[in-house]
């Protein structure tokens, strides 16, 4: 009666299969936010681990520019070669640039240098540490228990990720009116656009345990230099029932029945 | 009252339309209305009435008349004929109640369900001039003597020239036959006389057609009254539509007995010779709609035919001649399918 004509849908597979996240190697589902506190010229070097480096320039202005810019590292151009025009960005002093990879399995390192009048200062080298004042976000998808470790300060915490309740189908009487797009909270209150903020301190995290729904984000606000590692320790059991094995029952008819006592 | 009160389809032709059709027929098939000897191919201006033909007829080179044999001269020792032409002009038809054709008193008033026909026939006949006859006469007399065909019987005197026969020519005899003025070239099917050669030969089938310079023309008016009827034909199981002649009158022919005799002859020709040829069987009047549609690629699951409405069950007369029209009533017969 009907024929499906769909194109093959291409999953962002890394978003479902990544179980370990590091601030030292930015991959999918992680974001590093660096705060540019002072006005000036900054060089940002993005290295795809094992591959060539990209360079962007950030001009931080005293009284103008956006306060935030999120840069998708997978959208940076090809081999820059020498002396080509680099990408230029502008930010307001005190603004934040977020570095993230929307897809793929590559991991990236970020180096930010301030071009001072007399010297260049390295403000950030993400492969070594995240300086105090920066933030690191991880969006956790697979349900389970994750261990968060501050490798620099030797502290830990746990994050429990639960599968949210199914988004309730709208009841018949409520079928009028504008439809709600996906990603907005349904009747169950779940939305992937909700995040929790965890402080990272010398003596530990601001919470020992956090709870999230799958697809939500935990944002680590670094009050000290840190190097964060998030690992899935225990995946939640699958909700799918295993398929029943087919059985064959054979009954012999020639044997006498059990004797009565 | 609707036209189709007693039938599924009604068709009618007004006498004005019929007469227009006849005029078109005269112009597009002139050979049906004009009869003449082959001579007139070369001398069309000698016709009693000029023949008007449609451009398509002239472009196609269709003959303007039907060829007929010359009128024979009886008694001549060799076949001799004169040219003539017969032209039917002014054909008119008048349906009851009759307001176009004024019938002669002999035919009375046009009765109900009858039609009147008026026809003018013009005849042009060649009358050979005296000088031609006098020129031919010696040869005729000579041939009669040669052939011993005189009424008085056998003549012992010999004319001194060999007996003439078809194909045999005596130069000396021929020189006596024709004078220097007698240079005529006839139709290839007839005799050739040439005064230089003096040949006299008669082709196997031919007729000597006397040369024509002008025709004597006269016209007669003919009136007829007729009607249609359904009848049977022995040996046939289907009804036939027949045209029946009720009366015929030639105007102003004298003496009256001659007029009567000619009218009788013509009536007999029509009744026994021509009208029986135009009877139409019912099967020819049944139009098979289904077959026509199938030929056009349109399939119809039923058998559809058009048949004349029945007399007297459906209509009192079919075809009917009334109110200056010829009317036909047709039934649609549908069998089978859905």
């Amino acid at each position: 009666m009907y024929t499906p004509n769909q194109k093959q849908a291409v999953l962002n597979r890394a978003a479902f299969t990544t179980r370990s996240f590091r601030s030292g190697g930015l991959g999918v589902l992680t974001t590093l936010f660096h705060r540019f506190a002072e006005a000036g010229e900054y060089d940002v070097y993005i290295s795809e681990i094992g591959l060539a480096e990209r360079h962007v320039r950030v001009q931080v202005l005293e009284a103008q520019g956006p306060f935030q810019y999120n840069l998708d590292l997978t959208t940076l151009g090809g081999d820059p070669g020498c002396c080509e025009d680099e990408d230029n960005y502008q930010l307001h002093a005190g603004g934040v640039m977020g570095f993230y990879a929307s897809e793929g399995t590559s991991v990236y390192g970020i180096v930010v240098k301030h071009n001072g009048p007399k010297e260049k200062r390295v403000l950030l080298d993400s492969q070594k540490l995240i300086p105090a004042g920066d933030l690191f976000a991880v969006t956790l998808v697979q349900p389970g228990v994750y261990a968060v470790t501050d490798a620099l300060n030797k502290t830990e915490m746990l994050v429990e990720v639960q599968m949210p309740q199914p988004r309730a189908s709208l009841p018949g009487t409520a079928r009028s009116g504008p439809r709600k797009p996906p990603s907005e909270p349904g009747e169950s209150g779940y939305s992937p656009r909700q995040a929790q903020v965890i402080g990272v301190r010398k003596d530990g995290f601001s919470a020992r345990r956090a709870q999230l729904s799958s697809g939500q984000t935990v944002l680590f606000a670094c009050e000290v230099d840190t190097h964060l590692i998030v690992d899935l320790q225990k995946a939640a059991p699958s909700t799918e029932k295993p398929a029943e094995k087919a059985r064959l029952r054979v009954t012999r008819t020639d044997r006498p029945g059990p004797r009565k006592a | 009252m609707p036209f189709t009160d007693h039938s599924d389809i009604y068709a009618a032709v007004h006498e004005k339309g019929i007469n227009t059709v006849v005029r078109h027929l005269m112009r597009q098939r002139p050979s049906l209305f004009n009869y003449a000897t082959p001579f007139f191919h070369q001398y069309p201006k000698l016709f009693c009435n000029p023949i008007e033909a449609a451009p398509t007829v002239l472009q196609a080179g269709n003959p303007l008349f039907t060829e007929v044999e010359p009128l024979p001269i009886y008694g001549a020792p060799i076949p001799i004929g004169v040219n003539f032409c017969l032209q039917l002009t002014d054909a008119e038809i008048d349906f009851h109640p009759g307001n176009i054709v004024r019938l002669p008193a002999e035919l009375g008033k046009l009765a109900s369900q009858h039609l009147a026909i008026r026809l003018k026939a013009c005849v042009g006949l060649d009358c050979p001039p005296t000088e031609w006859i006098e020129r031919m006469l010696p040869a005729i007399e000579r041939l009669l003597v040669e052939q011993q065909k005189l009424a008085i019987g056998e003549v012992k005197e010999q004319t001194g020239s060999p007996r003439l026969s078809t194909g045999a020519v005596s130069d000396r005899g021929a020189a006596e036959l024709a004078g220097p003025e007698a240079r005529e070239l006839f139709n290839s099917r007839s005799i050739v006389i040439r005064d230089d050669l003096g040949k006299l030969s008669v082709p196997a089938r031919g007729i000597v057609v006397l040369p024509t310079r002008e025709l004597t023309c006269f016209c007669l008016e003919l009136f007829a009254v007729a009607h249609f009827e359904w009848g049977s034909v022995p040996g046939s199981t289907q009804p036939w539509l027949k045209t029946r002649l009720d009366g015929l009158e030639i105007v102003d022919l004298a003496p009256t007995p001659m007029e009567n005799a000619i009218e009788c002859y013509l009536s007999t020709v029509l009744r026994l010779g021509i009208l029986p040829q135009v009877i139409v069987p019912m099967e020819k009047l049944i139009f098979d709609v289904t077959s026509v549609l199938e030929e056009q690629g349109l399939s119809v699951s039923q058998s559809i035919t058009l048949q004349p409405a029945e007399v007297p069950a459906d209509v009192p007369d079919n075809p009917a001649i009334e109110q200056d029209e010829l009317r036909a009533f047709v039934r649609l017969k549908i069998t089978g399918g859905s």
Binding site: P4, V96, G98, G186, G215 | G17, P63, L332
Partner: protein, 325 residues
């Protein structure tokens, strides 16, 4: 009085009409992109049945002619919106600015699904129209008007089925039924059609989604596939009502059908054709015209037809004409 009169009873005219009606066919296809979704159709159909009523005011009414769809394919494509995790904005204490988190989408590119369903078993419509009758003279010597051919839509289908001939080589009188008011049933799809489409789309969308906890997460985000479909299509309750509007208004299929009726009857296919001049005797070869019996081929005899007029009474159709001089 006219030279010739031909009257056809209403019942007989019905037969001519029946034959014409069952050979009216059409085919059309189109698609439109509405952004979030695309919709298209491929249709083939024909007419069947109906009755004709001649009226005393020189008009006729054709009633309840069935519109039979041989194919009514509907193709619906959905552009599945982004399904993403993360995102959202957070208030942070000074000196940190409020932060907006990037989203991570679960498909690399917006996936599309498309289904095609044949709705012909679910649609029943009728068309009726009123109109008059008119005669037109076709002059074969005049070239057809340049540009738009009103029969183009129908011509290929009709010529392939031998319904209409190419323009004739000789002049003709044409008698046309001229539809005026056309009444046509709206497309009205039953509930089952809505269910059919929803089930088909649901299956197509569900097939995109991997199983296990990933599916649970996706469904938690988008809700039911049915709700997603309704959101993409931006439709209220019933898909079948939305579908009916699509066919009645957006696709313009009603307009198409009306045009089919109008152009077939009023322009493309005369109900009767009469050659001018009208042949009454065929060309004939005869040997009777010459004494030597040489064959002669006589030209056909044809009569010029003038002043063809058609009138309708409540009982019959009457054609009258004169024979030209």
């Amino acid at each position: 009085m006219a030279d010739m009169t031909l009257a056809i009873s209403e019942a007989t005219f019905q037969k001519s009409f029946d034959t014409m009606i069952k050979n009216i066919r059409w085919e059309a296809q189109d698609s439109t992109d509405w952004g979030a979704f695309s919709a298209g159709y491929h249709v083939k159909g024909h007419l069947q049945g109906g009755s004709i009523d001649l009226r005393a005011d020189n008009t006729l009414r054709v009633d309840e002619v069935d519109i039979r769809w041989d194919m009514l394919e509907f193709t619906l494509g959905l552009d599945i919106p982004k399904i993403c995790v993360g995102g959202g904005c957070i208030d942070l204490p000074w000196p940190l600015p409020d932060l907006c988190l990037p989203e991570f989408c679960l498909f690399k590119a917006d996936p599309d699904v498309s289904i095609t369903v044949d709705l012909s078993p679910f649609v029943a419509q009728e068309v009726s129209f009123e109109g008059g009758i008119a005669t037109r003279y076709y002059d074969a010597s005049q070239p057809p008007p340049a540009g738009f051919d009103p029969c183009a839509l129908l011509r290929d289908v009709l010529v392939n089925n031998s319904i209409i001939d190419p323009f004739p080589a000789n002049n003709q009188w044409h008698v046309y039924i001229i539809p005026g008011t056309v009444d046509i049933d709206l497309f009205d799809f039953a509930d089952i059609v809505g269910d059919l489409i929803e089930n088909a789309l649901t299956a197509a969308v569900t097939a995109l989604i991997p199983g296990g906890w990933v599916r649970d997460l996706l469904l938690a985000i988008i809700g039911s596939v049915a709700d997603l479909i309704r959101w993409v299509l931006d439709i209220p309750d019933e898909i079948d009502e939305w579908l009916s509007d699509l066919f009645n208004v957006s696709f313009g299929l009603l307009d198409l059908l009306v045009q089919v009726v109008l152009t077939f009857f009023g322009v493309c296919v005369p109900v009767y054709r009469i050659d001018d001049p009208f042949p009454v005797m065929d060309a004939k070869t005869t040997t009777a015209l010459r004494l030597d019996q040489a064959p002669v081929t006589l030209v056909p005899v044809a009569l010029p037809v003038r002043n063809l007029n058609v009138a309708i009474t409540d009982l019959e159709l009457v054609l009258q004409a004169d024979i030209g001089a």
